[in-house]
Structures are given as structure tokens and as C-alpha cells.
């Protein structure tokens, strides 16, 4: 990819679009620059959203290498559709809609049976995966692993749409309207999904507090 410094666009159409989205969000503005061929803006978008997208996908599919593979597909699709991008909503809504679509497809197709990896896996694709830098005692480490296994199971037990809604609400702090657009449903349906999901989680994780 050619690296071009980000410059204000000279294209009047883009200027108009940018004014329209100026109040909407900075990401949409960056995406409009990508549409004009500015690859630096794409690098900035990648820098800003790489982590949240991978973490969301990881919690959806519970597999580190699959989550990275799906995240690659998300950003590839973003780049591929740069020419037709229209800033009709927040960029993160669109981004998480792509990520949710890919994750739900993956879960639906039952691919999680293939190559399921445990949480304590350290090496994937030749890259050393160091989970934590601190040095806990063996007892703390074991307690943490047991607790995380419980959380992972509770999340995994949720229906895929409820899981996606909880992850976007809890970790990505998306608004109800954004989650609704990502899941292609109404805002009231999202509230209902979230309420039922948290109800299940309260039931399954209650013993952790004791």
C-alpha cells in the first residue's frame, strides 16, 4: 500500500460529506479520506479499532486464532468497500455490524468445533501469546483460571445474538441504537435481548460472588 500523508480533501463532494459527518464522528471522516485513496487514514482506523474488534470477536468465538482471522476479514471488507462507503451512521456501528455478521455466521456454521483451543493456550500461529505480565502466585493463577472458565462458559451458553448484544454493550459500550443496527433489529428488541442475557448471567455467575 502506498503511504500518502493525510491531507484535507480537494474533492467538493467529499468536503460536503465531511461537513455532514463532522458532528457524527471522526472515524467516518477518516473513512471518507480512505474513500479518496488516503491509506494513512486506513492505518489510523486500523490502529483505533483493531483491538476492540479482535477482543469482541475473541469473546464471541472463544478462539484467539479464529478471532484474528475474522478480524482480518472485517478490515479487508472495510477496505474493499471504501469506494462505496456512505457515512449514514457512526463508523463503529458499521464496523461492528460487519464483525457481528461474520461472528454470527461462524457460530451458526458450527465452526467452533474445529480447532477449539483452551484459554490458557500460549502459542498460536508462531506468535507467543503472553496473557498477563504480572507474576501472580500459583493459587491466584488457579483461582483466576477457574473464575474465567466460569465466565467463558456462561457467555458461551448464551444464544449467539444475546452474546453479541452483551459484548457490544458491556465491553464496547455501544449505544442501544448502534447494537440494534449491528444486529439488524429494533432498539426495543435489543433491550429485551440484553435483559434476558443479563438475567441468565446473573443466574449462572451468582456463585462467583460468594
Amino acid at each position: 500500500m502506498a503511504l500518502i500523508p493525510a491531507q484535507p480533501s480537494e474533492n467538493p463532494g467529499v468536503k460536503k460529506d465531511m461537513e455532514a459527518v463532522a458532528a457524527l464522528d471522526r472515524d467516518a471522516e477518516l473513512m471518507l479520506r480512505v474513500r479518496e485513496g488516503d491509506d494513512v487514514s486506513f492505518a489510523l482506523l486500523l490502529e483505533r479499532h483493531r483491538g476492540p474488534v479482535i477482543h469482541f470477536l475473541y469473546r464471541m468465538v472463544l478462539n484467539p486464532s479464529v478471532s484474528e482471522e475474522l478480524a482480518q476479514e472485517v478490515f479487508l471488507r472495510v477496505y474493499r468497500s471504501r469506494a462505496t462507503y456512505e457515512p449514514t451512521a457512526k463508523f463503529t456501528t458499521w464496523l461492528f455490524r460487519i464483525a457481528t455478521h461474520l461472528a454470527l455466521n461462524w457460530v451458526r456454521d458450527g465452526k467452533k468445533e474445529k480447532g477449539q483451543e483452551s484459554l490458557d493456550e500460549q502459542v498460536v500461529d508462531g506468535v507467543d501469546r503472553q496473557v498477563r505480565d504480572r507474576q501472580p502466585t500459583i493459587e491466584q493463577e488457579m483461582l483466576y483460571e477457574v473464575k474465567m472458565e466460569e465466565v467463558r462458559r456462561a457467555i458461551e451458553a448464551l444464544p449467539a445474538k444475546q452474546r453479541a448484544a452483551v459484548l457490544m454493550h458491556k465491553y464496547e459500550e455501544l449505544e442501544y441504537v448502534q447494537i440494534a443496527r449491528a444486529l439488524s433489529c429494533s432498539e426495543s428488541a435489543v433491550k429485551s435481548l440484553l435483559f434476558r442475557a443479563y438475567e441468565s448471567l446473573r443466574a449462572s455467575l451468582a456463585h462467583l460472588a460468594r
Binding site: Q72, V124, R129, V151, R152, H169, Y198
Partner: protein
């Protein structure tokens, strides 16, 4: 305020309170309600426990070569033949098309096909009842034969002296 647990109205206020997403005014109002409502207090306590458990779940770090792999895939795509890129755009859209949008061209195609068939086969309705159609033709033939018979039959001569 209405109790979200009892009335099932504004139930999201419980979630928003735990997520610290309420405005200061809403928070203060809800905290007054919490002091009076045991059900809501219990639910909020349980929700905070869930929140804490989820907070502790740290995801694995991102691979150091994630960006390099992505840029390699982008470069590979850009050098692919145009027809391949075109097919990818059609069959791998960033977000799925809504089902009703996919159905519109199909319904339109069916309507055009049905209209075309109706124009080409106007008597298609009779095809289902060949016997009825045959009966209709027979009646016409009978009428025609009777008319021909009338023409061929010489007029009856009036008896002499009747004029």
C-alpha cells in the same frame, strides 16, 4: 418514578445504572428509589456482581504481525484479476443485504414471466377443460349445418289459386 422491576417499564434503567450510563439527575433519582425498593436493590447488587466478573475477563493480546498479514492480504487482493474482485464485492458484501431486498428482483422477474405467459396463451384457462371447449365447437358446427341446410332447402311452393 415507576419501579422498573415491578412495572417492567424502563427496565434498561437498571442496566444503565450499573453501566454508569445514567445522567447525574437520573442516577440520584434512581438511588432514592433503590433505598425504598428491596427488589431493585437486590437486582442491582446481582447485576454489579455480573459486571465485576465480566470486567475480570481480559482478552488475549493481538498478534504482533496482525497488520502485516492484513496489508499482505490487501496487496494480494489488489493484484487479483478484476473479475475476481468484482465477484468478491458481490458475494462478500460488508454487511448482508436485507432478505426483502433480495426478494424484490425475484418477485419482479416472476411477475414479468407470468404476464408474458398470459399474453402468449390467452386461452390457457380453457386448456384445463378440453371437454368444455369441444362441446362449444360442436354447437357452432351444428348451428352452421342447420343454416346451410336452410339455404339448400328449396322454398315451399305456395298452392295454386292461393294468391
Amino acid at each position: 418514578m415507576n419501579c422498573p422491576t415491578k412495572t417492567n417499564e424502563d427496565a434498561e434503567i437498571l442496566l444503565d445504572y450499573c453501566a454508569q450510563a445514567l445522567s447525574p439527575v437520573q442516577t440520584a433519582e434512581f438511588e432514592i428509589h433503590l433505598k425504598q425498593c428491596a427488589d431493585c436493590s437486590q437486582l442491582v447488587a446481582a447485576q454489579k456482581e455480573v459486571w465485576g466478573a465480566l470486567d475480570a475477563w481480559t482478552p488475549v493480546p493481538v498478534s504482533v504481525n496482525f497488520d502485516a498479514r492484513l496489508y499482505a492480504r490487501i496487496a494480494q487482493e489488489q493484484t487479483a484479476p478484476a473479475w475476481q474482485r468484482w465477484l468478491r464485492r458481490i458475494f462478500q458484501p460488508p454487511v448482508p443485504y436485507p432478505l426483502w431486498k433480495s426478494a424484490v428482483p425475484l418477485i419482479a422477474a416472476c411477475a414479468v414471466l407470468a404476464a408474458g405467459l398470459a399474453v402468449r396463451m390467452p386461452d390457457a384457462g380453457n386448456a384445463a377443460h378440453p371437454q368444455l371447449r369441444a362441446d362449444k365447437v360442436d354447437i357452432e358446427k351444428v348451428e352452421q349445418t342447420l343454416e346451410d341446410f336452410d339455404i339448400l332447402t328449396p322454398p315451399v311452393q305456395a298452392p295454386a289459386g292461393s294468391m
